[in-house]
C-alpha cells in the first residue's frame, strides 16, 4: 500500500463521514418536505433541532475531502471540475440554498410557524431533495468510467463531453439511491433523537422501515442498470474476489438495521444503518481501486509529489489531534443522553 493509497483512503473516510453525517442532514430535509399527520409540526421541529448544532460541522467533511483531493490528486480534481462542471455547479447551488435557508429559517426571527418561516423551510427541504440526487449522479458518472476519454460515447460535442456522463439512467439511479440512503439514515437517527416522545419515534420508525425497503429497490435498480451501462461497476461489484463477502456483510447490516427498527432497538438500528451505508460506499471504492477516476486515471498516476503527500499526512495527524476530541465533544454535548427537545430555542 503506497502513501497515495493511504491518502486516497483518508479522503474516502472523509466522504464516508460526509455521507453518514451531512447525508443525514439532507435526509432530514426530505422528511421535512414529507412531514404530515397529527405531529407534522413536531416532526419538523425535531428535524431542525437535530440538525441545528451539527450541520456546519457535518458539512465541513465535504470541504475537507475536496481540499485533500486537490492537494493530493490535482489531475483528478481538474478532470472532475471540467467534465462534471454542470452537475457540480447545481450541487453547489443546492448547498448554498439549503444552508442559507436553514439558517434564515432558524435565525431569521420570523414568528414560529408563520408563512415566512414555512417558505424558508420549504426551500431548505426542496434543496435537500435535489442536491443528493445530483451528488449521487456525479458518483454514478465517476463509477461508470464515463469521465475517461473512452467514456464519451458519441463524439466530442458539448453533450458528449459535459452532459452524457451524468445524465443517463445509471447515474440518475445512483442519485436516487443516494437520496433514499440519506433519507433512510435520517429516519433511523431521528427515532433516537425522538427518545422520550413515543409517538414521534414511531413516526420515524415507520419512515425508516419504508426507506429501508426503498433502499433495497433502489439498490436493485442500480445493479440492473449497471449490467447494461456500467461494465466497470458490474465487474467490480459482482465478479471480484471480495465481492461476495462484502455483499453478505452489507446484507447482514441491512437486515440487522431493519430488525432492530422492528424491535425498537434505536441505538442498534443507528449503528447497523451507518455500517450498511458505509459498506456500500467502500464497495464502490474497492470496485474501482486502483483508479481514482476510472478508466484512465489511477491513484498512482494522479498523485501529487511525495513531499506533498508526506506533509499532508503529517498535517492530518496533527489536525486529527485537535479535531477528533472537538468533534467528540460536540456530539457528546448535543447527541448524548439528553433528549434534543431541550434545545428547541437556540439563542
Amino acid at each position: 500500500m503506497t502513501l497515495a493509497d493511504i491518502l486516497a483512503g483518508i479522503i474516502f473516510v472523509a466522504l464516508n463521514a460526509y455521507a453518514l453525517l451531512g447525508g443525514a442532514d439532507f435526509g432530514g430535509g426530505v422528511w421535512d418536505l414529507l412531514a404530515r399527520g397529527p405531529r407534522q409540526e413536531r416532526q419538523r421541529e425535531l428535524i431542525a433541532d437535530a440538525i441545528g448544532p451539527v450541520w456546519e460541522a457535518n458539512h465541513v467533511w465535504l470541504i475537507l475531502a475536496i481540499v485533500l483531493l486537490f492537494t493530493c490528486f490535482p489531475p483528478a480534481f481538474a478532470l472532475l471540475g471540467t467534465r462534471l462542471h454542470i452537475p457540480l455547479s447545481l450541487v453547489l447551488i443546492g448547498i448554498v440554498l439549503r444552508g442559507s435557508a436553514f439558517t434564515f429559517w432558524r435565525y431569521g426571527g420570523g414568528a414560529h410557524g408563520d408563512r415566512e418561516q414555512r417558505r424558508w423551510g420549504l426551500l431548505f427541504a426542496v434543496a435537500s431533495l435535489i442536491t443528493p440526487l445530483l451528488l449521487g449522479a456525479t458518483v454514478g458518472a465517476i463509477a461508470s468510467g464515463r469521465l475517461g476519454e473512452g467514456g464519451r460515447g458519441t463524439g466530442d460535442g458539448f453533450y458528449a463531453t459535459y452532459v452524457a456522463s451524468w445524465l443517463n439512467p445509471f447515474a440518475l439511479a445512483v442519485g436516487l439511491f443516494a437520496l433514499v440512503a440519506f433519507a433512510f439514515l435520517a429516519a433511523v437517527y431521528l427515532t433516537l433523537e425522538a427518545e422520550g416522545e413515543r409517538e414521534l419515534a414511531e413516526d420515524f420508525r415507520r419512515r425508516a422501515l419504508a426507506a429501508g425497503a426503498g433502499l433495497f429497490v433502489a439498490a436493485v435498480l442500480v445493479l440492473v442498470l449497471a449490467l447494461r451501462y456500467a461494465p466497470l461497476v458490474r465487474d467490480g461489484l459482482i465478479f471480484a474476489a471480495w465481492a461476495v463477502p462484502l455483499h453478505l456483510l452489507t446484507a447482514a447490516a441491512a437486515i440487522t438495521a431493519l430488525v432492530a427498527l422492528w424491535y425498537r432497538r434505536w441505538r442498534a438500528a443507528r449503528l447497523a444503518a451507518a455500517v450498511q451505508v458505509s459498506l456500500i460506499l467502500w464497495g464502490w471504492a474497492l470496485g474501482q481501486y486502483p483508479y481514482v477516476l476510472p478508466p484512465d486515471l489511477t491513484i498512482a498516476a494522479a498523485a501529487a509529489p511525495a513531499a506533498t503527500l508526506r506533509l499532508v499526512l503529517g498535517a492530518l495527524a496533527v489536525g486529527a489531534v485537535v479535531l477528533l476530541p472537538s468533534l467528540y465533544y460536540l456530539f457528546r454535548v448535543f447527541k448524548g443522553r439528553h433528549p434534543s427537545s431541550v434545545i428547541r430555542h437556540p439563542s
Binding site: T71, G81, S89, A304, A315, I343
Partner: protein, 453 residues
C-alpha cells in the same frame, strides 16, 4: 462575453461576496466573546443581550460564509482546472490546514450557539474563544495560498514538469507575511467600524442609550486599534510590492516610467496610450520614500515589462487610491476616538465623532474589496505571477456566461435577504425601557442582574 472574462467575473463575484462573510466571521466572534466576558464579570444583562445578538449575527453570516466558501473551493476546479493541476500539490497544504481550522470553527460555533444551557459558563466562554482563534487562522491560511500566487516559490519547472515541490517553502513565500497581516487587521478594522458605525448612527438619535453605548465601546475596542495599525502593515505590503511585484505597484501608482525620486500619484486618469496620468495630484519623491524609505530610490515603472504584461492600469490605480483613502479615514477616526477616550471624554455625546463613525460604516468593507481588486487585477495577466497566465488556467468548458449569471443572481438574492434579516434581527434597539436613556458607567455592577441563559 468571452469565456475567460465570464470565468474571471464569476470568480470575482464569488470572492467579493464571500470575503464579506469571511471577514465578519473572523472579527464578530471576538466582539461576542468580549461581550459575554463582560456579562459574566459585571452581571449586567446588556452585555448578555449584546453577546446573544452578535452570536445570532455570527450564525447567519457564518452559514452564508461557509456555503459560499464551499462554492469557492469547488470553483477552483470548475473554472481553473489548469491552475489546480499545476498548483494543487504546491499550495494545497495551506488549504488543507484551512480545512482543519474551519472545521474547528464550525464545531465550536455549534457549541457556542446552542450550548448556552448545555455547557458550563467556562466551557461556553472558551468555545467562543476557539471560534475567534480558528476563524482568524482559517483566514490566514487562505491568504497564504493567495500570497503564493503573487510570489510563487517552493518548486521548479523542468521541461514543463513541476519538480522539487516544497510545500512549506511555498507557504513561507515573500508575500505571505505582508498579505496575512494586512488582511487580518483589515478584518478587525472593517467589522469593528461597521458595527460601531451602526450604533453610532443610533446614538445620534439617542445618545444616552446604554445598549448602544456598550456596543459602540466593544466594537471600537476591536476596530480602532486595527485601523490605527493598518497603515503600518500597508507600508510593509507596499515595500514588498516594490521588491517582488513591481508591475503591480507601478499600476497601483500609475507609474509609467522607471525613475529615481518617483512621485506619489493620487487620483487622476491614467492614459496607457500616452503614458501619462492627467488631473492627478503628484507628491514629489513620496513614492520612492514609501517604497524604499529613500527619496532617491529607483522605482520600477510599467515600462519595465512589455505592454502585453500590463494589468488594467486605471482599475488598479483607482482601487488602490480608494483603499488607501478609506483606510486613512478609518485610521484618523480611530485616533480621534482613542484620543477622546484617553482624555476620558464622553464619546457618545460628541456628535461630530458619532457622525464620523456612522459615515465609516461601509468604508472598511469597500476598502477590503478595493484592496483585493489591487491584488488580483494587479497580478493580471498572470494567475501565478511570472509562471502561468490566467488564460492558460481556465476550463475548456464553453458557455461560462450561464454559470456566471446564475451565481451572480444567487448571490444578489442572498445579499438582499441577509441585509434585510440583519436589519430586522440584529440592528433594532432592544425593547428594554430601563436601558433607554440610562447611562451605566462601565464596570459597575447592577444588583440583581445576571440571571443567565
Amino acid at each position: 462575453m468571452p469565456d475567460l472574462l465570464a470565468a474571471r467575473s464569476q470568480m470575482g463575484v464569488s470572492l467579493a461576496f464571500h470575503i464579506v462573510f469571511a471577514v465578519i466571521g473572523i472579527a464578530m466572534p471576538v466582539m461576542m466573546v468580549v461581550a459575554e466576558r463582560r456579562w459574566r464579570v459585571t452581571g449586567h444583562e446588556i452585555y448578555l443581550d449584546l453577546a446573544k445578538r452578535w452570536a445570532k449575527g455570527t450564525a447567519i453570516l457564518f452559514a452564508v460564509g461557509a456555503v459560499s466558501g464551499t462554492v469557492l473551493s469547488f470553483e477552483l476546479g470548475l473554472l481553473w482546472p489548469g491552475f489546480m493541476r499545476f498548483a494543487g500539490p504546491i499550495i494545497g497544504m495551506p488549504f488543507s490546514l484551512e480545512g482543519f481550522a474551519f472545521f474547528t470553527e464550525a464545531i465550536f460555533l455549534g457549541v457556542y450557539l446552542y450550548g448556552w444551557d448545555r455547557v458550563s459558563p467556562r466551557a461556553h466562554q472558551w468555545a467562543g474563544v476557539a471560534v475567534a482563534v480558528s476563524g482568524a487562522a482559517s483566514g490566514i491560511f487562505v491568504v497564504i495560498a493567495n500570497a503564493w500566487m503573487n510570489a510563487p516559490t517552493g518548486f521548479e519547472v523542468v521541461n514543463g514538469q513541476v519538480v522539487n515541490v516544497h510545500p512549506i517553502a511555498a507557504m513561507a513565500n515573500a508575500a505571505a507575511l505582508p498579505q496575512t497581516l494586512h488582511m487580518t487587521l483589515a478584518a478587525y478594522a472593517a467589522t469593528g467600524f461597521a458595527v460601531a458605525g451602526i450604533h453610532a448612527f443610533l446614538l445620534l438619535k439617542d445618545p444616552a442609550n446604554a445598549f448602544h453605548r456598550r456596543a459602540l465601546e466593544i466594537a471600537l475596542l476591536v476596530g480602532a486599534p486595527a485601523a490605527v495599525l493598518q497603515p503600518l502593515s500597508g507600508d510593509l505590503a507596499a515595500r514588498h510590492l516594490a521588491r517582488h511585484q513591481p508591475v503591480k505597484l507601478a499600476a497601483a501608482e500609475a507609474l509609467f516610467t522607471t525613475q529615481r525620486g518617483a512621485p506619489l500619484t493620487i487620483g487622476g486618469l491614467p492614459d496607457v496610450a500616452t503614458g501619462e496620468t492627467r488631473f492627478a495630484i503628484k507628491i514629489p519623491y513620496a513614492l520612492s520614500l514609501l517604497a524604499f524609505h529613500d527619496p532617491q530610490a529607483e522605482v520600477k515603472g510599467l515600462d519595465a515589462v512589455p505592454r502585453e504584461l500590463w494589468p488594467k492600469v486605471s482599475a488598479v490605480h483607482f482601487s488602490f487610491d480608494l483603499m488607501v483613502g478609506l483606510g486613512s479615514y478609518l485610521a484618523l477616526v480611530a485616533l480621534w476616538a482613542g484620543w477622546l477616550a484617553w482624555r476620558r471624554g464622553d464619546l457618545a455625546h460628541n456628535r461630530w465623532l458619532m457622525r464620523a463613525i456612522a459615515l465609516a460604516t461601509p468604508m472598511g468593507f469597500i476598502a477590503i474589496e478595493a484592496g483585493w481588486m489591487v491584488t488580483e487585477l494587479g497580478r493580471q495577466p498572470w494567475v501565478i505571477y511570472g509562471v502561468m497566465k490566467t488564460r492558460d488556467a481556465v476550463t475548456p468548458m464553453p458557455g461560462l456566461i450561464v454559470p456566471f449569471l446564475t451565481f451572480t443572481l444567487l448571490y444578489c438574492f442572498l445579499g438582499v435577504i441577509v441585509g434585510w434579516l440583519l436589519y430586522r434581527q440584529i440592528l433594532r434597539s432592544p425593547d428594554v425601557p430601563e436601558w433607554r436613556g440610562f447611562y451605566m458607567p462601565a464596570g459597575s455592577r447592577e444588583p440583581g442582574a445576571g440571571s443567565g441563559g
